[in-house]
Assembly symmetry: C2
Homo-oligomer: 209 residues x 2
């Protein structure tokens, strides 16, 4: 069983990264999205183990101390993290695991798995981002302002990523994400076993035993 | 007009790289394959400007001295090279240009365009390579032996490439090649203009003029 690929997906709030991730799960086999752990209470309709692993703060802190998170962040009221065991199991089963986290999380994951590709999803322009955030009508003016301020900060960090995908159209952007994952799986540093085998066989062509 | 991508495609003789390149030209828009220059005489059915640019040795040597090749190689009897002007024109027209050359050529291209991806196409195994070379029945035993010896040498150089694609099945391998080209176009170092524009617009969110 070939080990799956781990990839980090980030993007401005309103860039549509959640939609792209849902779409790739629907249209292509072999993907799973990592389920995060959180200490916040379940929201309406949120299912433990599906949307999040809902943990007490004690349990969360214990997992931190046992190094059981690939990455985590603690805010004033709540903590969020990516349980390492879930990701490891999926990778070992050959699944390609998408982590929907921000650059702080991406940096932590890179320390553990240095060749994890970091992928940033952006709308075609900031004007378009503003339009999407205001037109979906589910956010307050204050919430929109906060998201835009966060976007301004995130924009400064795009160069830390390996890939930037423009979400101009959901299907097209999903295919671009799939292309990136397939290409990453073909990178020479990930095909060392195959290369070694080819080289071993090829060497026998000139020096048959 | 966004500049196209230049990519080097190599592979063992018999790996099917010519077939994969033909297939991608047929099934996807935006690709062109570079036409090489050569000093050898046209073979049966070969058309000047389509299969090769057929040049005299004097003309070829002049182009070498004028630095008009992206890469070239001279053998005992003949010279081969990639005219820089053809490639430049296609890239400027936004075309993705595939160069079907070996690692020596790839190294020369990298000196001029350092971020050119180098892609190696291999059959699933050397046994399969031997089977393909012997079963197509168009090569003499001597020619097959020569190709296999060359393959043994090329195998040692696979690690110089960026990607290795297994040609287990033509359509699947063609899609993998297409994925690599699409992914390369999304790499952050190739999207600097977009990123700069997003950053400029995003900065205005916090400091509107």
């Amino acid at each position: 069983m070939e080990r799956g690929l781990l990839a980090v997906i980030s993007g401005f709030a309103g860039a549509g990264k959640g939609t792209i991730v849902s779409q790739i799960l629907k249209t292509h086999e072999n993907y799973v999205v990592s389920v995060s752990a959180t200490t916040r209470a379940p929201g309406k309709g949120e299912v433990d183990g599906v949307h999040y692993f809902f943990l007490t703060q004690d349990k969360f802190d214990h997992m931190v101390s046992e190094n059981e998170f690939l990455e985590y962040a603690s805010y004033v009221n709540h903590s969020y993290g990516t349980p390492r065991s879930f990701v490891e199991e999926q990778l070992n089963q050959g699944k390609d695991v998408l982590l929907e986290i921000d650059i702080q999380g991406g940096r932590q994951v890179r320390k553990i798995y240095p060749d994890t590709p970091l992928i940033f999803i952006t709308p075609p322009s900031i004007d378009e981002l503003v339009r999407r955030l205001t037109s979906r009508g589910r956010d307050s003016a204050e919430s929109i302002a906060r998201r835009l301020q966060r976007a301004a900060k995130e924009a400064e960090e795009i160069e830390e990523y390996d890939y930037v995908l423009v979400n101009d159209e959901i299907e097209a952007c999903t295919e671009r994400l799939h292309a990136v994952i397939q290409a990453e799986k073909a990178r020479v540093n990930r095909r060392q076993d195959l290369i070694a085998e080819i080289q071993k066989q090829a060497a026998l062509l000139c020096n048959p035993s």
